[in-house]
Every structure is written in structure tokens, then in C-alpha cells.
């Protein structure tokens, strides 16, 4: 079985990783962690052509950051499932399209993705990326939702990395 885990650095993504890590899987199950960096330059280049070089630089930094946290997640899963079973990749492109394409090329059996639910109205809506993946993927999709307590102080921006750190401590 091949499981593709789509992550960004959100708390919801880390919850998805945690769910995968804590679930029994058949022997030989392969896991691939994927993070997609969207092309910023393509989005803003037409508006401010002079900013393209800055955008490209920002993209590089985002990719480097993506490599760092996908490697962290990969290391965490490797401790559980073994080195041979886990791989990670950071790719550039439009998020949902890239994930769907990778899932097809890699012959994934299931894509695990966070719902990106947050608080308030967002809590009841599915994130646009998750929705696109659900609608267009060739394989099964598991949308992981997380319950956030009202008085939980885990809503700050760097919660995602904190969640991973907590998971590592737990292991």
C-alpha cells in the first residue's frame, strides 16, 4: 500500500502526520511526504514585474524551509516505520494539481491531507486544496480534521512546528 501525506506547516497537517503515525498499517506500506511550494512569481509578476527576482528568492527560501520541515516529519515517521518505508519530497507548482499528479505518478492508494479547518466559520468548511484533491484525485482521500479547544493557546503562527516537536518528544 502506498500512502501519500500532503503537508504544509499548519497544525492540521501535523495532526494528519500524527494520525498516520499512530495507526496500524500493513507490512510493507510505503509513505511519501509531499510539500508543494506555489510559484509566487507567477502570481505577482504581472502586477509588479520588478519584484520578480525578489519573489524568486522568496520561493527558494520557502522551498528550503519546506525541505527542512518535511525532513523533520520524515525522520519522525522513519523512527516508527523504518528508513526504507518513508520518503519525502518538496516540489514546486500549484498545490492541489501537484499533489494529484504525484499521487497518480507514484500510484498512491490513499492521499492523507489535513482539512485546514481552523476556528469560527473555517471550522465547518473544507480547505480549498483538500476539496480539490477530494474532487479530482484518482485514489481514495482521507481528510483529517482536528478538534481545537476554545481556550487552547495553540493558535499562534508557529504552532505547527511546536506540534511536531511535541510528537517527537512523545516518541
Amino acid at each position: 500500500m502506498k500512502v501519500l501525506i500532503a503537508v504544509d506547516d499548519s497544525l492540521c497537517s501535523h495532526e494528519a502526520v500524527s494520525v498516520v503515525a499512530n495507526r496500524p498499517w500493513a507490512d510493507g506500506t510505503q509513505f511519501k511526504i509531499v510539500h508543494v511550494v506555489e510559484p509566487i512569481a507567477a502570481q505577482y509578476g504581472l502586477v509588479a514585474p520588478e519584484a520578480v527576482s525578489l519573489m524568486l528568492e522568496a520561493e527558494k527560501k520557502l522551498k528550503a524551509y519546506g525541505v527542512k520541515f518535511t525532513t523533520d516529519i520524515g525522520d519522525y515517521l522513519k523512527e516508527i516505520f523504518g528508513d526504507q518505508q518513508v520518503s519525502s519530497v518538496v516540489i514546486g507548482g500549484y498545490i492541489a494539481d501537484s499533489i494529484i499528479e504525484l499521487a497518480r505518478d507514484w500510484h498512491a492508494d490513499v492521499i492523507v491531507v489535513g482539512s485546514h479547518g481552523r476556528t469560527g466559520l473555517d471550522k465547518i468548511l473544507l480547505g480549498s486544496v483538500a476539496e480539490k484533491i477530494v474532487n479530482r484525485s484518482h485514489c481514495s482521500v482521507e481528510v483529517i480534521k482536528m478538534k481545537i479547544k476554545k481556550n487552547d493557546d495553540t493558535s499562534s503562527k508557529d504552532d505547527g512546528s511546536n506540534a511536531l516537536a511535541k510528537q517527537k518528544q512523545a516518541v
Binding site: M1, V19, R23, P24, W25, A26, V110, S115, I124, L125, L126, A130, E131, V134, N135, R136, S137, H138, C139, S140, V141, E142, V143, I144, K145, K147
Partner: protein
């Protein structure tokens, strides 16, 4: 772990059960096979009765298939009446489930076509949702030509 397996009254339930048994589950997992018979007009009593019978048969057969592949597992089955998405979300909330498994054809809602059951469930449920991609099977009774035409 508590898991709802949502099936409809078409032959798609087999694909959903097969996808479920392929996965590994904690030993304490409790499955609940749920099918919802949608309300119809009073004039369609005969159809409704037929649907109810089909629903009973489907959950019975699905439960048997689960036992066949996962001997010793705990499986309940239930037939409910109402709007499928509403019932699924309600049962999930009341039973405090960890996951809902249901099939999807990958149809996309737009201005003309209302959101499908998988979309509504994944948007509104309190728990994780596992959407099993269904491969097309021969259309069963009750599946309209419109929904067939909109399948991606």
C-alpha cells in the same frame, strides 16, 4: 476507535467494504455500517418500501463481508431515514466517531448541481473523513441519468 462505514443502496458498498478491510485497524475498533434511506413523496410508498428492503439487505451483506475479512471484529449495522449527509454528520457527532468512511465518484458541485453527500460530510463532520474512490459500476435503480452525466 469508532468508525462509521457509510454505504448507499447501490452495488458500490462492496468497493467501500473492500477498501476498509484492506486497511489495518486497531484491535478495539468498532465499526458501524450505516445506510440512509432518503425521504420520498408519499405517492412513492412502493419505491420507499423497496428502498428500505434494499437497505436492510445491503447492511446485512456488508456486515457479513466485514466478518469474512476481519473475523472477530465488532460491527454494528443500522438503517436510518432522512437526508444522507445530515444523518451521517449527526450520528458521527452523537457517537463521537473517529472516522467516517464513504465512497465518492469525484463529482464536483457547482451552481446547478448541489453539493454531493461526500462533500457535505467532509465539510460538516466533526471527525476525519476517508473518501474511497469508486470505480464506475453499472447504474443501479434510482441513480439518475443526470448524476451519471456529471460523473468526472
Amino acid at each position: 476507535m469508532k468508525v462509521i462505514i457509510a454505504v448507499d443502496q447501490t452495488d458500490n458498498w462492496k468497493q467501500i467494504i473492500e477498501a476498509t478491510v484492506k486497511r489495518s485497524w486497531p484491535s478495539d475498533t468498532i465499526f458501524r455500517i450505516l445506510t440512509v434511506v432518503e425521504p420520498g413523496a408519499d405517492a412513492l410508498d412502493k419505491t420507499k418500501t423497496h428502498q428500505a428492503h434494499t437497505a436492510d439487505r445491503v447492511v446485512h451483506e456488508a456486515r457479513a463481508l466485514m466478518f469474512e475479512h476481519l473475523p472477530g471484529c465488532t460491527v454494528y449495522s443500522e438503517v436510518r431515514k432522512g437526508k444522507a449527509a445530515d444523518e451521517l454528520v449527526t450520528v458521527a457527532a452523537n457517537w463521537m466517531v473517529d472516522k467516517i468512511i464513504l465512497g465518492t465518484h469525484g463529482r464536483k458541485a457547482n451552481r446547478l448541481i448541489p453539493a454531493t453527500v461526500p462533500q457535505l460530510v467532509s465539510q460538516n463532520s466533526c471527525c476525519s473523513v476517508d473518501l474511497v474512490k469508486l470505480t464506475p459500476v453499472k447504474a443501479s435503480v434510482g441513480e439518475s441519468s443526470l448524476t451519471q452525466a456529471t460523473a468526472q
